[in-house]
Symmetry: C2
Subunit: 384 residues, 2 copies
């Protein structure tokens, strides 16, 4: 009866009859199940599947086969796994799918992955703890070319009840095909700041998380075709996107935030940072707008020496001024990151030009596990 009602509801919610909706679900699947020994049991109901693999997992080897029980539930237990938050997916007969039993997902425009958190014995800095919590707010604002933009804003605990106190602002930009949701739903920047502010290790601040590709919003809202491959990092398309983002941030997002939030409006109280493409947008926007940002954090990104020579002599021609201007120029990278080599070249270039910066090198690759490490290093030193 329960299952029938479930199927019926599911079928009708999905706009199909039960028969049409999907194979009978049978048992109520719990997945993932994090066990006390830090192993994790993943389960997927697919009575008719031939193979089910655990794919896209950053723990253990990828593509671990699941085994099917009499009820048609495939499962596998992996680990123990190092405590962290990991993306994963299933490959069912070769098709990559999110875990239907898991509501935690990775917001991204081009792939679908679920998220599993393995808690550590001593709660991690990004864990949900019993401390005062800030809020996450989604705003619509007037963006480039008449479009309506979306931006996500973290305000620290107590913000809503105060009426006068003003805060510094960290503009934090996510990676290619990530969305304005990724830095809090995957990066947990809100919980990290809740914990750091409660511990007195980070200054109370507002974090503004813009959407990195306003060109797509314009296309969406004007009904124009979406621009081709958003992944390109060079060519006119990439440059137009980069410039459009900078225009959106400086001419639309910042004025909107400073009009609607209690912000301290000067360069010493504005920081900018980002991951991957967002890091490239960070460096270019900061170097083009030295009057606006005193703190600059590049998470796994760089600008090539050639582009630096071509476009940013304003930064390199007078290192003394640049070193005074930037209270922090921070660059973090993982040794397994596919952008490691380019980042090292960038840092060597800055050294040669006598530009001060702080370098942080860790193990691991181009992952959000590493982004949390970069946040853990940089959030405590902003606005100090």
């Amino acid at each position: 009866m329960k299952i029938n009602l479930y199927l019926l509801l599911l079928g009708i919610l999905l706009g199909t009859t039960v028969a049409q909706s999907q194979p009978p679900r049978g048992p109520f699947v719990i997945s993932p199940k994090v066990n006390s020994d830090k192993t994790v049991t993943f389960s997927y109901l697919a009575p008719n599947a031939k193979t089910v693999l655990l794919g896209g997992s950053q723990f253990g080897q990828a593509d671990v086969p699941l085994t099917k029980n009499a009820e048609g539930v495939w499962s596998v237990t992996v680990g123990p796994i190092k405590p962290d938050i990991y993306p994963y997916s299933f490959k069912v007969d070769g098709v990559t799918v999110m875990d239907p039993a898991n509501v935690a997902f990775f917001p991204n425009e081009r792939f679908k992955a679920s998220l599993v958190e393995i808690p550590s014995d001593e709660p991690a800095i990004y864990a949900l703890k019993n401390v005062p919590h800030g809020s996450i707010t989604y705003e619509y604002y007037p963006s480039v070319e008449g479009s309506t933009g979306t931006v996500v804003v973290y305000t620290p605990a107590g913000y809503t009840k105060e009426t006068a106190k003003k805060y510094p602002v960290y503009y934090l930009i996510s990676g290619t095909t990530d969305t304005e949701e990724t830095f809090w739903k995957v990066g947990k920047v809100n919980l990290m700041l809740d914990n750091m502010i409660a511990a007195g290790t980070a200054k109370p601040m507002i974090v503004v998380m813009p959407y990195g590709n306003p060109l797509a919003k314009i296309a969406e809202q004007t009904g124009k075709d979406k621009p081709a491959d958003v992944m390109s990092r060079d060519g006119d398309d990439a440059l137009r996107r980069m410039k459009l983002f900078e225009t959106d941030l400086v001419a639309h997002v910042i004025p909107y935030i400073e009009k609607n939030y209690r912000t301290i409006n000067n360069r010493d109280n504005r920081a900018i940072g980002g991951f991957s493409r967002g890091g490239g947008q960070t460096l270019r926007t900061a170097f083009n707008n030295v009057d606006k940002f005193a703190y600059v954090c590049s998470y796994a990104s760089y600008i090539s020496p050639a582009e630096m020579d071509k476009s940013f002599t304003n930064i390199t021609s007078n290192p003394d001024k640049t070193n005074k201007d930037f209270k922090l120029l921070w660059s973090g990278i993982g040794t397994d990151d596919f952008l490691y080599k380019g980042t090292v070249e960038f840092e060597d270039y800055l050294k040669a030009k006598k530009i001060n910066f702080k370098s942080y090198v860790t193990d691991g690759g181009h992952t959000w596990m590493n982004v949390k490490k970069y946040l853990n290093e940089t959030l405590p030193v902003l606005f100090k």
Copy 2:
């Protein structure tokens, strides 16, 4: 080069090598593409798939086959489709998947579906228009049994800049396995209110969207196994969940909201409503807390005559009082809804007991397309 970089980034983001990540993607797929004639073209890249169907679609027949081109991109054009927002998914060799190229998704704990909006010539009441926009805020609050709850709050345009103005509050509860995100990401209650408030047809109000199944949060945070089948509507489990929700709302959510937001704190300025399970929680919570809510909206839900006789004689024994207490008791249902018969019985029961209520019957089933119709009927009459 672009594709290689994309694959590499995707692979590494997902924590697998390129080879492991998934079949080569080839072209950059745009899906869905809403055409000017209101047909929609759905595309999915799967060079190795044997069959790809458009499943879970509420437009046209379900399970429309897609056809594969030379590049391995499957696609189909359907419609013209009646303007609305619809859930859909693909069935790739029998496996139900979200559209990887579409970031718009249906927040739900038990199934994955993407969303497509077909705009109407005269923008719909739920469309994103060029009007002042309210904000959506995610809050953490101290919930039942020491757990930390999550709740989503809509505040109307201008709220953040005012310091004194107070607002009535609509507590709005989503359906079984929906989340606290569903009423804005699928139901678009925020955009509907933005448009109605701008047009002067609805009163400016705060909307509070709680998570409907606090028992799951407790399990999640205590590491206990999640409770079995959350779909059950009867039995001790269902009753415990129902009671726990009511306790959470009345003893935790409302006090938290009234402490942190500028609310008018009396029954005439509190409304409660919900869809499906959330409608059942609405009716039971309202009937158990007549002192708290003057406006009650049931979207596709009911209480059985047997349960009414057993548990809610406080409502039926003195109809004159009840009819004074509730400024609005509203019940909406679709003729194709699997809860239609039970809703009609409930309404007949109320009639027989001389309890005033407003009935709204529409075509269609147990869908969020109908939920938007119910919101369109009820939002304008709240707090008037």
